[in-house]
């Protein structure tokens, strides 16, 4: 690995570690403050901001704010909605996008160049520029459900899931990965009489662990952290995800401790997930860079 060479004196090392630790403090401090504050009653929380106690679990520490937060808002519903929408979207996205990428890379069919070109071109369309007209689209879409045929998708799970199943980046990541797989293997399977779907499901997907991890992590972060779209399409609290649920904690004079407790509840599990899988997270971001 390429590394800057330098004199390895003790001083040199101390200086380097000092800088690394200082920068680390800048990144950790706000998050540490969030978690520690969630454990304190408001008067103490506010008083502690003037000294280092802000970052320590000292004083009158309890989980009262967490109890208060769950009483103030249907927090469990928000969490369920987020987890449900995110999980389902990630799973469907991995399937639909990898299937399309398989078709683009291993099969030959009329119009595939144009279709792939259009999909890649959508990468430069920021979601924010189509969010407003998308409201009109989902407001006019039909759906057949329990109560028969209805029109309009606002206030539902599907409006948060279906539009995000297929996206250019996920397809692109799978296409890049599939291109490096040996084509002879696919041809051999074809000669043996396997159907295309069998080759996709039994041969290609089991080889695709790394790209599945990358695509899943990127999609997970995107979906879980979404704000603008669920804000626009979920007026009913029954369908709202965690980021929109924040409304309940943002009144004029908020209970700061409860706000911090809610922020911790929706953030710490993701942080823990990241810390456990940090190599996969970091390499998934890195791979979007190298290949783009």
């Amino acid at each position: 690995m390429a590394t800057v060479e330098g004199s390895n004196t003790t001083w040199d090392k101390a200086w380097r570690y000092g800088l690394l630790v200082l920068v680390a403090a800048i990144f950790i401090a706000p998050l540490l403050f969030m978690v520690m504050s969630s454990l304190k009653p408001d008067p103490q929380l506010l008083a502690d901001t003037s000294n280092l106690r802000a970052f320590l679990p000292v004083g009158d520490v309890s989980f009262d704010n967490y109890v208060g937060a769950f009483q103030r808002a249907p927090v469990a519903t928000f969490i369920f909605n987020s987890v449900f929408v995110t999980t389902l979207t990630v799973a469907l996205s991995l399937f639909v996008c990898s299937l399309a990428a398989f078709s683009f890379v291993f099969l030959k069919w009329r119009g595939q160049g144009a279709a792939l070109g259009i999909i890649i071109a959508t990468l430069i369309v920021p979601f924010e520029t189509i969010a407003i007209p998308m409201l009109i689209v989902v407001n006019n879409l039909p759906w057949v459900g329990m109560d028969g045929l209805t029109v309009g998708w606002l206030n539902s799970y599907r409006v948060q899931i279906v539009p995000f199943i297929a996206d250019g980046l996920t397809i692109f990541l799978f296409v890049q990965f599939f291109k490096d797989l040996p084509r002879e293997l696919i041809e051999a399977c074809r000669v043996e009489g396997a159907t295309w779907f069998q080759i996709y499901w039994r041969v290609v997907m089991p080889l695709s662990g790394p790209v599945v991890a990358t695509a899943a992590i990127l999609k997970f972060l995107y979906m879980y952290n979404q704000y603008l779209w669920p804000l626009m399409v979920t007026q009913a609290e029954g369908y709202r995800p965690v980021m929109v649920g924040l409304e309940y904690f943002r009144q004029l004079n908020p209970v700061w401790g409860e706000l911090m407790a809610y922020l911790s509840v929706i953030t710490v599990p993701v942080l823990a997930f990241y810390l456990v899988l940090q190599r996969a997270f970091i390499s998934s971001i890195a791979s979007t860079g190298v290949k783009g």
Binding site: M1, A2, T3, G6, K13, R16, L20, F27, I28, P30, L31, F33, T49, S50, V96, C97, A100, S103, L107, K108, W109, I118, I119, I124, V125, P126, E128, T129, A131, I132, P133, M134, L135, I136, V137, F164, I165, A166, G168, R190, V191, F197, Y200, L221, N225, Y227, L228, L246, R250, L263, I266, Y274, Q278, I282, I285, A286, S287, T288, G289, V290
Partner: protein, 360 residues
């Protein structure tokens, strides 16, 4: 061999069937809304309206982007000398006389003052049909122009730091990347507390560092500090993402190049200038494009922290698009902003692509 390969792999039906779900969804949820945005921007479409939608041509664009300049001479007294007001400043005719029902200035009708500057004795007034949008446009560009180089540069510094061969370096990589996995909405709420004018952490830290000499600032409540505060927070949240992309670029540079530079006796700076930087050129372009795209979409921070205020100092294009298109249910007005935003992003990505093509 080539013939048998293509025969084995050719399958129009299977090919279409497998690509159709993804392609259909992208068509319905990206291409159609995208086309609608263009269509709506020439109409008076609303989300729910009893009246039929009408074609209005380019009226929306004129209402959004109309800008005009008006040079006014100072008012003079009877002798012809410039009349001064109580503060000793020259006075100028009221703008209202030009922008309201003045048949001599039809192009100024309905426009309002955006800003003005002195030009000799005269004063030049720049008028805009939509002053709030002009401020949003200016703020968005300011945000992009500051964030792109600053965040890209800081990310490179961090990448160089965590690319050192030191024990435990992976811990620091993990920590620097941590804010990236936290939602920007959460970060914005958290930082509202940090930026608070009374009990804010930042004020307390600054006054502690300066032994009490620092006067507390209401960072988000002050028009001159609100946007810089949001810029600093946005960089804090996202810089780890680009650090990782730089790091991947750094690690793709062949170690033999560094060995050669070492043998030649190159200094650290020379090594960076002649080995590291040329190897990072493609990464640099990618990082800049990604940051620029993300920066133009600035919304959540504004919505959570300032709602565009104080005094429109943090208005942005996407915030205005949502404000009009969704909160005021004026789809046409939101779509026009979306189209303008898309054209800007497209132009910039074409320019960036053109620049990279020449260099490689």
């Amino acid at each position: 061999m080539a013939a048998s390969r293509s025969r084995l792999l050719t399958s129009n039906r299977a090919g279409w069937a497998m690509a159709a779900p993804a392609f259909g969804l992208i068509l319905l949820f990206i291409i159609v809304p995208f086309a609608l945005a263009f269509g709506f921007s020439f109409t008076n479409q609303r989300l729910f309206s009893p009246n039929p939608t009408q074609w209005v041509g380019t009226a929306n664009f004129e209402k959004l982007l109309g800008v005009a300049a008006l040079t006014l001479e100072p008012e003079r007294d009877a002798s012809g000398a410039v009349a001064l007001d109580d503060d000793g400043q020259p006075t100028y005719p009221r703008l209202r006389g030009y922008t309201r029902n003045n048949p001599d200035y039809p192009h100024l009708a309905g426009k309002q003052e955006w800003f003005s500057f002195g030009w000799g004795e005269d004063r030049v007034y720049v008028l805009a049909s939509d002053v709030v949008f002009m401020k949003a446009l200016r703020n968005t560009f300011l945000f992009v122009l500051v964030v792109a180089p600053l965040q890209g540069g800081l990310a490179l510094l961090l990448a160089l730091m965590v690319n050192q061969k030191l024990r435990g370096i992976n811990f620091f990589r993990t920590v620097y990347f941590m804010p990236v996995v936290v939602s920007i909405v959460v970060v914005s709420l958290l930082w509202r507390f940090i930026y608070d004018g009374n009990n804010g952490l930042l004020n307390n830290v600054l006054s502690w560092l300066s032994f009490g000499a620092f006067t507390p600032v209401d960072w988000l409540g002050n028009p001159s500090t609100a946007l810089p505060a949001i810029i600093a927070m946005s960089i804090w949240q996202a810089v780890g993402f680009h650090m990782v992309i730089w790091l991947a670029g750094l690690q793709s540079i062949s170690p033999t190049l560094y060995e050669a530079a070492n043998i030649e006796g190159a200094s650290r700076l020379q090594t960076f200038r002649y080995v590291t930087w040329p190897g990072l050129r493609n990464t640099a372009v990618l990082v800049l494009i990604v940051i620029t795209m993300q920066a133009f979409a600035l919304f959540a921070q504004i919505d959570v922290m300032t709602k565009g205020g104080p005094l429109d100092s943090t208005q942005t294009m996407v915030f205005q698009a949502v404000e009009r298109g969704y909160r005021k249910q004026d789809i046409a007005a939101g779509s026009v902003i979306s189209v303008v935003l898309f054209l800007i992003v497209l132009t910039i990505s074409l320019i960036q692509r053109h620049l990279t093509r020449e260099k490689t």
